[in-house]
Symmetry: C2
Subunit: 110 residues, 2 copies
């Protein structure tokens, strides 16, 4: 569950600008501010079920956007390559060729 929450948080971070205002409000209260479904329902004067349905639908949309645009996947891959470059540079003993190889991998991600 924690892993799923982390994933949704990341996807929300990448794709929130593509969501409606209401979707953004529900998602941000539920996932960022840790409101319960009941608390959001009370706040918006709608049923708990309506909030639940909206959030589930939004989660599906986020996964669909990720399937199409791969922003989270590429972000993770880039983070890995950046870590690798930092290590190579910090070691001091890295050759230019090793570094260039990582830079080229990074370039290919775009």
């Amino acid at each position: 569950m924690l892993e799923k929450t982390t994933r949704i948080n990341y996807l929300y971070d990448f794709y929130q600008s593509l969501l409606t205002e209401k979707q953004q409000s529900y998602m941000s209260l539920y996932y960022l501010d840790d409101y319960s479904l009941g608390e959001i329902a009370a706040e918006y004067n709608v049923s708990r079920q309506a909030v639940f349905d909206n959030i589930k639908r939004t989660e599906l949309m986020l996964e669909e956007y990720e399937e199409k645009l791969l922003l989270f996947t590429k972000f993770q891959e880039r983070a890995r390559l950046i870590r690798q470059m930092k290590e190579l540079v910090s070691e001091g003993s890295s050759s230019a060729d090793e570094l260039l190889a990582v830079i080229v991998e990074l370039e290919k991600l775009d």
Copy 2:
């Protein structure tokens, strides 16, 4: 005009997965295969005006997606930093600090 075409080509590259199949077909024939509006209209058995309207609307959508997600902007920024890193590494005389500074800038883009 050439500059606009290049920009639309890039935006299309980044956001085509968010378009409908018809939008993808028209855009790809017009921008990638250099068909005229009339040729696309004949191919799809619709009016030239219908093709024109669809393509104009799609271009607007691409700009809206870019406003929201900034994929092209970030791509250009990343390309600039990658060029900078390559130069630093190839010169051979670069310090680890200079390289790390660029890597950190790259990291901040995500």
